[in-house]
């Protein structure tokens, strides 16, 4: 089997790392580690985009990588760190289903995502097309993380991780969306995080805790 050029190998490696980080976030208990993993995931994205930019000579991807670096590796984790320090939230003691079961469901989701993405990968013309399955898998894993968590902060980090997966999907399927759209998405993510932050303070004020179970009283009567 002929081996791929170095850039493709690197991209595959980064993609695998991304998936690993998505799984690691799924099984983490400490919120501090979650934020660091999220920052690391952003960093891996930056590296991956950089390699794609270098090997395909698409200069707008450099700007995209820079934007991701500023937003997802520096700004957002900083905001999140300040938030959890102010809110005094450190641990997410329980998850809704225990961790080994979560991991098994995660594996099933990964298989599903790979199946879903294969027909599209075959049509794609980018060098990164085989990583579309991994992008879809990390989106689904972030989604799983959102729904199995109890603390509000973990849900938000899951949401941001989903956004990471979407960015990776865009880069792997199409060499990134046009810059104006990417800027818009970045702006939305930033504003969204601010609003989340404001939200947490409101929730904490009213409920004295950030446990989501307090937010389940409105039901069908």
């Amino acid at each position: 089997m002929p081996s791929l050029p170095l850039s493709s190998q690197l991209i595959n490696l980064f993609a695998a790392l991304l998936l690993l980080l998505a799984f690691a976030m799924l099984t983490q208990r400490r919120i501090l580690s979650l934020i660091n993993l999220f920052a690391l995931q952003g960093f891996v994205l930056v590296l991956s985009t950089g390699v794609v930019a270098y090997s395909t000579h698409q200069t707008h991807l450099y700007y995209s990588a820079l934007l991701t670096l500023i937003l997802k590796v520096l700004l957002l984790p900083w905001i999140l760190h300040r938030l959890i320090r102010a809110l005094n939230v450190r641990w997410d003691v329980e998850t809704l289903i225990d961790i080994p079961a979560t991991m098994l469901i995660g594996i099933v989701l990964v298989i599903f995502a790979f199946n879903l993405a294969t027909p599209i990968s075959q049509i794609a013309g980018t060098i990164t097309r085989s990583t579309l399955g991994i992008a879809t898998a990390s989106i689904l894993l972030a989604f799983l993380m959102m729904i199995t968590r109890r603390k509000a902060v973990s849900q938000v980090i899951g949401f941001l991780a989903m956004e990471n997966g979407l960015f990776f999907a865009a880069t792997s399927a199409t060499y990134g969306m046009p810059m104006v759209v990417e800027l818009g998405i970045a702006l939305d993510v930033l504003i969204g995080t601010f609003i989340f932050g404001v939200f947490f303070f409101h929730i904490r004020e009213t409920f004295e805790s950030l446990d989501i179970h307090h937010l389940e009283k409105l039901k069908e009567r």
Binding site: A170, T174, V181, I191, T206, H214, L218
Partner: protein
């Protein structure tokens, strides 16, 4: 020119009100901004009627008959709601449920929300459409939790998370769409422009477009309130301040449906089969049935009408899914009249709840006695939304059912049953509220009910007689949608 004003005024208004939104003249400033937007929208509409579809500013914005009437509707309802919000918010301030600072947030976000909705309607770029929809969610989230009660925080959280996840699916769908478009149109900005996509939709890869449409439907459908993704809607409408419920119900749901329909046009062109339409019909029918049967269990008046919104959006989705000139005409007409009627109802409901101090229906009684305008407004509004002739809703539902009987006869019994159940539920609950012995007290400020009756009058007019230019307009839009 007009488009710049239509977008620029609300954006500027949002910024201005961020500084001055807590002053005494803030509500008037808010209404003034909305009036300016409305005038600009009317100007834009006149130009489109005269000249036909236009592309503005290097193809960034595209105005055709489909979205211009939605622009006009949005600007109009935003204006009347701002008129309603003046006395309503004054009373809330008086009752102590809000502080001036929160009013500042409210006014500023109200204008920004108008801006994001208009941007979503007018943009030609599918990516910017996504950005605007997400921004619309962001501007309203803090407004839903404005009262800072536990229930409103929960509602806002659910709204944020569910709509956020939904919008993420829509982003994935947009990425897939771009991916398919790039092959035909080349990379760079043009592959995301709807006008270009519309021209080449026959050449787009069917499997990818099918998958993209599913994600777009699920994503934007969450914002439309289609079952089973509707969970956020009753809570958000019930716990937020009434003007927000009115614009959410009357306007945001429409804009989300507009996004779905634009996607459907592309998907049908690419696939050649009726897959997209069938999906929409399925979701629409499910929403109608689920909402109708959940209506009778509601105890809170705003939740009741929120479910009614879900039901009507389901009807519209079903209509657009069916396709064909008659069904699409019915869908467009329904969009208009539902928007006007539902906002009118929410205006009346808002004041009724303020008078009685509660939103629980069992505790509101005898509105006709204590305040005839509110009572009659609610009664007539409910009759209108339930499809009583000669109101406009009856006309659109009748057209829809006729089209259904021709094209999809199997669905007609479900639709009729659901409509019947909804009628019984809503009428049964509204009637004791309006009649019966009065329990409400006087309001510190006189309520604003001119908007209510203006809306209802328009709906009545549309039920009796659709002006020819409006009919022509709907027909053009229907032709666009196919």
């Amino acid at each position: 020119m007009e488009l710049l004003l239509v977008l620029g005024v609300p954006f500027a208004g949002g910024i201005v009100l961020a500084f001055w939104g807590h002053r005494r003249f803030a509500p008037e400033l808010n209404s003034g901004m909305s009036l300016l937007t409305l005038l600009a929208a009317v100007g834009l509409t006149a130009r489109i009627i005269a000249d036909g579809p236009i592309l503005v500013w290097n193809e960034t914005f595209f105005v055709d008959s489909f979205n211009v009437f939605l622009v006009a509707l949005t600007a109009f309802v935003a204006f009347t709601t701002s008129l309603f919000s003046r006395p309503y918010m004054r009373i809330e301030l008086n009752h102590g449920r809000l502080s001036p600072n929160r009013l500042r947030l409210y006014h500023s976000m109200y204008q920004m929300f108008s801006f994001t909705m208009l941007l979503a309607l007018l943009t030609n770029n599918v990516g910017i459409l996504w950005v605007a929809m997400e921004a619309a969610t962001l501007t309203t989230v803090l407004l839903v939790s404005l009262y800072r009660t536990p229930a409103s925080l929960e509602a806002a959280w659910k709204y944020f998370i569910l709509c956020g996840v939904g919008i993420a699916q829509a982003l994935f769908g947009t990425i897939l769409l771009y991916f398919a478009a790039e092959k035909v149109l080349g990379s760079g900005g043009t592959a995301l422009l709807w006008t270009h996509l519309n021209e080449v939709k026959g050449e787009l890869e069917p499997t990818v477009l099918g998958l993209a449409f599913v994600f777009l439907l699920v994503g934007y459908g969450t914002k439309v309130g289609l079952a089973p993704l509707h969970n956020w809607l009753p809570d958000a409408h019930a716990e937020g301040p009434t003007p927000i419920s009115a614009v959410l119900s009357g306007l945001l749901l429409n804009v989300a449906l507009y996004a779905v329909v634009r996607a459907k046009v592309l998907a049908e062109g690419a696939l050649g089969t009726h897959f997209a339409g069938n999906l929409m019909m399925g979701f629409g029918l499910l929403s109608v049935v689920v909402a109708a049967f959940l209506l009778s269990r509601q105890k809170d008046i705003k939740r009741l009408f929120a479910y009614s919104s879900i039901e009507h959006m389901g009807l519209m989705t079903f209509a657009f899914g069916m396709g064909g000139a008659l069904a699409t005409f019915a869908g467009l007409l329904h969009m208009t009249v539902h928007s006007l009627t539902k906002s009118a109802i929410f205006f009346a409901v808002g004041h009724a709840a303020q008078k009685s101090g509660t939103q629980v229906m069992a505790d509101i009684r005898g509105l006709i006695d204590s305040n005839p305008t509110i009572g009659w407004g609610l009664m007539i509004g409910s009759l209108a939304i339930l499809g009583t002739p000669p109101f406009g809703v009856f006309a659109s539902e009748f057209l829809l059912l006729t089209a259904a009987m021709h094209q999809q006869p199997w669905a007609t019994p479900f639709l009729l049953a659901a409509l019947g159940v909804a009628f019984a539920a809503i009428f049964g609950k509204v009637q004791p509220m309006v009649f019966g012995t009065a329990t409400a007290k006087r309001l510190p400020h006189p309520p604003a009910l001119i908007p209510v009756f203006v809306h209802l009058a328009i709906v009545l007019l549309l039920g009796l007689y659709i002006p020819p230019y409006l009919a022509e307009w709907y027909r053009q839009a229907a032709a666009l949608i196919g």
